[in-house]
């Protein structure tokens, strides 16, 4: 495969990886704080997409400039995160915190099933989209292949901002340190006077918003249809598992691996494209059973 194809594969992989990362980031964040793998996270992605699409359509109907769609996407995502996130945390997660891990999984799975159908009842099964903003931002050409600025610049930069922003929040701000504390040891943090339930609520809202943001940013380039939630859920799991649970920076690298691996596959052996995420995950876990970036914790006895 020659240099230009290599370049193309890179270009294609990036924006996909960026979306994947945003969603996985939310998932891994929630896991870190609650120690629950939220199976409903995929629905947040889908809902984010639908809400954003609805906003976009409203804006288009109102005849406002499509540029407004960009902020609308973000706002839509944040709203989705706040509403659904709070409902999830208050209604479910904090109530199953002490339950058997299996029941926790099943609980979030139930939430997923419910959200999926609600979403279908609200938005129906016709595909949704808001593509105007993309055409507006225009395209740029690399190795005489045309890319949209939106995919090549907007999405990846949002992902980078999210990563750096979250890093800064967790390490530099007081509230962020509380989150980190709860992540490391809930009991101790609580003992030190951290309001754990407030922290979890906050974290889950952020995590949910990130998931929704993934969907919102996808809306302009893809059709939002029933089923994208489940799809994205499995993929973001693959990312999180590959990176190691709760690994933020790791998730970025895992997402890149999977995103790029996928696009290279389309050029080299299209038939394995679908399998790439799983193959990568299996390969990594073969070598590092805890995922790339988590250390094997020897149990204190």
């Amino acid at each position: 495969m020659n240099a230009s194809l290599l370049l193309l594969a890179l270009m294609d992989g990036i924006s996909y990886a960026a979306l994947l990362f945003l969603v996985a980031l939310g998932l891994t964040l929630i896991f870190g704080v609650m120690n629950i793998l939220n199976l409903a996270h995929g629905s947040l992605y889908a809902w984010g997409g639908y809400v954003a699409a609805t906003f976009g359509i409203v804006i288009a109907k109102a005849g406002l400039s499509p540029l407004l769609i960009l902020p609308a996407l973000v706002i839509g995502a944040v709203l989705t995160g706040i509403v659904l996130g709070s409902i999830l945390e208050i209604g479910l997660l904090r109530r199953i915190l002490t339950k058997d891990p299996i029941l926790q999984l099943l609980g979030t799975f139930a939430a997923f099933m419910i959200l999926e159908d609600l979403q279908r009842l609200i938005w129906g099964s016709q595909p949704y989209f808001v593509s105007d903003v993309v055409s507006l931002l225009g395209t740029l050409t690399v190795a005489d292949v045309t890319y949209t600025r939106y995919q090549l610049l907007v999405i990846p930069s949002v992902a980078v901002v999210a990563l750096l922003g979250l890093r800064w929040f967790l390490n530099r701000t007081a509230l962020g340190r509380q989150v980190t504390a709860v992540t490391h040891h809930r009991e101790i943090a609580t003992a030190m006077g951290v309001n754990a339930s407030r922290v979890s609520l906050l974290t889950i809202v952020i995590g949910a918003a990130l998931g929704a943001l993934g969907g919102a940013l996808a809306a302009p380039t893809t059709s939002i249809t029933p089923g994208i939630g489940a799809e994205m859920m499995v993929l973001s799991f693959a990312v999180v598992a590959t990176a190691g649970l709760g690994q933020i920076g790791g998730a970025a690298i895992a997402a890149l691996m999977i995103g790029l691996g996928r696009s290279f596959a389309v050029y080299l052996f299209p038939e394995v494209e679908v399998l790439v995420p799983y193959l990568i995950m299996v390969a990594v876990l073969l070598i590092r059973p805890q995922g790339m970036f988590s250390r094997v914790a020897t149990r204190r006895i």
Binding site: L37, L92, R95, I96, K99, D100, P101, I102, L103, L105, L106, G107, F109, A110, A111, F112, M113, I114, E116, D117, L118, R120, L121, A230, V234, F237, A238, A241, L245, E271, V274, L275, Y278, L279, M281, V282, L285, L286, P289, Q290, G291, R299, I301
Partner: protein
């Protein structure tokens, strides 16, 4: 013992109903096949492990049945045997790799494997019939060629018998020392190792058992439908199986079948009555279970069935 009575009544119903309401044969057969697979997953649940990929063994057995039935004139009973054996061997092999993982990693790796199988079956249409799957003509059953009706009735009777035997054997296994060692994996592997017991080996046994039961279920499923599709191995199916296990309750083998029947008919009727919302209803039911009845339907029945249960039986 009331439990025994309960099972007998259940069997009577399962066998009697279709005589009056013939269309029930299909759902009951499907429920029984699901139940067998669930029984397997329960073994893993007792070790505290959730697999999001066990449908792969159901699927594998199904395709073994389909391929053989298309290749040669083989009796249904032999097909069931072959399907189960294939799944067991696969389980034994994959298990060697899986026993190293726990928790979400275990779940995800199973999912990964099942997705690989799922896509391979979908891709190589020339061999596997692609996503439309493989259809095969009704084989002889007990070396007799039958019409659909007779075939299904006989298959149903066989399935009930197999389910009963499997249920009894698995329950015995659960109560055996090995079965309790498996359950101990859930709470303390370190201690197992410090007793000189290999947690991995014990878990491997459980994993193979699960695969075998899934294979058994898959074989019946394939024979009931006369068609196998990659869908049988899709991860959502695996999720369903776990769902049913929790619904029925993993405290006792019979939970698997209770769960399978409730699930089958709830889904059937909900889908028929409020179309497009069956997931919602199932989800709601699951939520209620998680909070109100974490030990599943069996957990609820247990008090009625067994006045003074051993504590270890109370677990979900």
């Amino acid at each position: 013992m009331r439990l025994r009575l309960f099972v007998i009544v259940l069997l009577a119903i399962v066998l009697a109903l279709p005589a009056y309401i013939p269309w029930l044969k299909t759902p009951i057969l499907l429920a029984l096949s699901n139940g067998l697979a669930v029984l397997g997953v329960i073994a893993l649940l007792r070790a505290g492990q959730v697999s999001f990929g066990n449908a792969m063994f159901v699927c594998l057995a199904g395709y073994t049945v389909a391929f053989t039935a298309r290749a040669a004139q083989v009796d249904a009973l032999v097909l069931i045997l072959l399907g189960t054996v294939a799944a067991t061997l696969a389980g034994a092999l994959i298990g060697l790799f899986m026993v190293r993982y726990r928790g979400i990693f275990f779940g995800m790796l199973n999912l990964a494997f099942s997705m690989v199988l799922f896509s391979v079956l979908g891709k190589f249409g020339a061999v596997t019939g692609g996503t439309d799957g493989l259809r095969f003509d009704r084989p002889t059953l007990g070396f007799v060629q039958m019409q659909r009706d007779g075939f299904e009735t006989t298959l149903l009777i066989i399935a009930v018998f197999v389910a009963l035997v499997a249920g009894i054997l698995v329950q015995r296994y659960f109560r055996s020392a090995r079965g309790q060692q498996l359950a101990a994996i859930k709470t303390n592997e370190t201690r197992l190792e410090y007793l000189g017991i290999s947690a991995k080996r014990v878990f491997w046994g459980g994993y193979v058992l699960a695969a075998a039961l899934c294979g058994l279920g898959g074989s019946f499923f394939a024979l009931t439908q006369g068609l196998v599709t990659p869908e049988m191995g899709y991860w959502v199916r695996s999720g369903e199986i776990v769902f049913i296990a929790i619904l029925g309750g993993s405290g006792h083998a019979i939970g698997a079948f209770i769960g399978a029947f409730v699930f089958e008919f709830v889904k059937l009727y909900v889908a028929a009555w409020l179309t497009g919302a069956w997931q919602l209803v199932l989800g709601a039911i699951l939520l209620v279970m998680v909070f109100a009845a974490p030990t599943g339907i069996f957990g609820l029945l247990e008090r009625l069935l067994r006045p003074a249960p051993a504590l270890s039986e109370k677990r979900a």
